[in-house]
């Protein structure tokens, strides 16, 4: 029983942090209608920024993320403005060209980081890395618990931003119907640039929260891309609360899979759920609620 409880709680905590990354992806997907396969690489870049802050100035990763987020916001804006938006004007045979461009961007980001930091595995050791809370026979890692709380705070702040501010409303309007939003005076191009920046900043935040828990190396980005798009599809494209639910679901499913089926098959569980949802619940978990 304690094992089951521990497994579920551990999954929920991790899932909350995954959700933060996925919310970034779902924002971009909602507004741009493209799958951003560079998202995990943005997470990875954010993690390296936080890592450098830690190594250079001894900055705690939870403070380092305050550096990583603006840096990644700028990087995201630049990518959207100079690369992806440009592609809207280009005629091509395959409509998936934007997705393929994000693959190219992900390749470039990964290799730039590999060029600077080499492929070595890196990790940071904070005073609380090995610490754990003991609750009724279950041990809960402090880093996970703190990360989860911060992730939830950010999700709530983002929710406030999207519902209470003009810019947030403009983003939601563009996601709903780009042309109608433009008729209402929304500068859709500017909105796409800001959304991509915002999504990248959230990716950086999620990555920084996970930094005390994961080894860091340039190829870790692929792992997060896979998780983020699984969660996004689980939650239904473009839905923030959906992404949150999807993140928690994936976290618990992976954690149960790792405990009861085997560590190696942990990721298979996530992918199989993803395929099933894609086929039978095309609007994500929301379609269950509506029925």
């Amino acid at each position: 029983m304690a094992l089951l409880g521990q497994t579920v709680i551990c999954g929920l905590l991790l899932g909350g942090m995954y959700a933060l990354i996925a919310i970034g992806m779902t924002l971009i997907m909602g507004v741009m209608k493209i799958i951003n396969l560079a998202h995990g690489s943005l997470v990875m870049v954010g993690m390296y920024v936080t890592y450098v802050c830690y190594r250079a100035w001894g900055l705690d990763p939870y403070l380092g993320m305050l550096v990583a987020m603006p840096v990644l916001f700028l990087l995201g804006c630049v990518i959207q403005h100079f690369l992806i938006n440009r592609l809207l004007e280009v005629e091509s045979v395959l409509p998936e060209n934007q997705v393929l461009l994000t693959v190219g961007i992900s390749l470039v980001l990964t290799e730039v980081i590999r060029f600077i930091f080499k492929s070595d595995y890196r990790s940071i050791a904070t005073p609380y890395t090995g610490e754990a809370l003991l609750v009724g026979g279950m041990s809960i890692s402090i880093a996970m618990a703190v990360g989860f709380v911060i992730a939830m705070v950010f999700t709530y702040l983002l929710h406030l931003f999207l519902t209470r501010t003009d810019l947030g409303r403009a983003i939601r309007a563009t996601a709903q119907d780009r042309e109608a939003a433009q008729y209402m005076g929304v500068d859709a191009r500017r909105v796409t640039v800001i959304t991509f920046g915002l999504g990248s900043a959230l990716a950086a935040a999620g990555g920084s929260l996970l930094l005390p828990l994961f080894y860091l190396w340039p190829d870790i980005g692929h792992l997060f891309t896979a998780k983020a798009f699984i969660i996004t599809i689980l939650g239904g494209m473009g839905s923030t609360t959906g992404a949150l639910l999807g993140g928690l679901t994936l976290g618990v499913a992976e954690s149960l899979g790792a405990t009861y089926i085997g560590m190696g098959y942990k990721d298979v569980v996530g992918l199989v759920i993803f395929l099933l949802v894609l086929l039978f619940l095309p609007h994500g978990l929301r379609s269950l609620v509506r029925r």
Partner: protein, 321 residues
């Protein structure tokens, strides 16, 4: 015009046959074989992804299945992996049928993601099913192997088969149906094209050829491992990038793309060292931005640019105002 084309084809075939003797060193022959492998993979992918518009991020599944068919035959039965060249494509084709029937319900990016997930599932299962596949230790073949020249001609034959099938399919009713599905699936359906069945007709030869190349790869390299042959980044995505470089939905695009990929890859490796993949990534971004239909796909653009200049020169010499 027709006669000119036949002579061009004959000259090209002779050149292809003579190449391993022109570049008579194992290093260059290895490069040539790699180009042929990637060209065949790209041509196979192009049938489904280019002409039919179903962008698959999971072709590594078929490649890996082909390679592992040969490898497992050798591992468990001690049979020569050459038999894998017969079994591999059949296994890949058979597996592609349920995959197609499941994934063709999805469209556009959703199809791409579903195929990506399937490819990854195959990789993870082959990685963890250690009793059957040897897991991450992979399969190493210890046997006398023929020289590179034989492999070159075999790879050339596979590429020839891929190009021949593509040519036949594109010129027939199938090709037009494929393109109509890519351009507007609803319209194609409204005109009475059974879209799912025709997508499957594009997938079957694509999977067969990819499996065949996979089995060839096992014979040539003599070592396979799930993370190599089922790789998302180094197989599935690279196939797509090769086709994008050369030209989507063109017969010769994938071959040109493969030659560029291998040649530039080697050049970058020699000149830039560790930054070679970086240079390739930048190149891919530039091609998508400025030559969205690849080098072969934009031939008209080049011709127009060249032609435009020439006309401009003539106009200038006539002293137009």
């Amino acid at each position: 015009m027709h006669r000119y084309r036949i002579w061009a084809a004959v000259a090209l075939a002779l050149l292809a046959l003579a190449l391993p003797f022109i570049f008579n060193s194992p290093y260059y022959q290895h490069m040539l074989i790699l180009i042929l492998i990637w060209a065949a993979l790209g041509t196979a992918w192009n049938l489904l992804g280019g002409y039919c518009g179903q962008v698959s991020f999971g072709h590594a599944a078929f490649f890996g299945l082909g390679a592992y068919s040969a490898g497992l035959l050798y591992l468990h039965l001690g049979a020569s992996p050459w038999w894998g060249m017969a079994l591999g494509p059949v296994v890949a084709t058979l597996v592609s049928i349920p995959i197609g029937l499941i994934c063709f319900r999805l469209r556009g990016p959703y199809f791409a993601l579903a195929m990506l997930a399937l490819g990854e599932i195959f990789r993870l299962v082959f990685l963890n099913w250690i009793s059957f596949t040897n897991g991450p230790r992979g399969i190493l073949m210890v046997a006398a192997r023929p020289g590179k020249i034989l492999f070159y001609y075999l790879a050339l034959a596979i590429l020839g088969l891929a190009l021949w099938w593509s040519y036949l399919l594109i010129k027939s009713k199938f090709g037009y149906y494929f393109v109509s599905i890519r351009e507007d699936q609803d319209a194609a359906e409204a005109l009475g094209i059974p879209t799912t069945r025709y997508k499957l007709y594009a997938l079957l030869p694509s999977a067969f050829l990819t499996g065949l190349v996979g089995a060839f790869y096992m014979n040539y390299v003599a070592f396979i491992e799930p993370n190599v042959v089922f790789s998302l980044g180094n197989v599935s995505v690279m196939i797509i990038l090769v086709v994008i470089l050369g030209g989507v939905a063109t017969l010769w695009g994938p071959t040109v793309g493969a030659a560029m990929y291998i040649a530039l890859g080697e050049l970058f490796r020699a000149q830039l060292g560790a930054a070679n993949v970086l240079a390739f990534g930048v190149l891919v971004c530039l091609v998508i931005l400025f030559l969205p239909n690849g080098v072969v796909g934009e031939v008209d653009l080049f011709k127009r640019l060249m032609g435009g200049k020439r006309r401009g020169d003539v106009g200038g010499s006539l002293g137009s105002p």
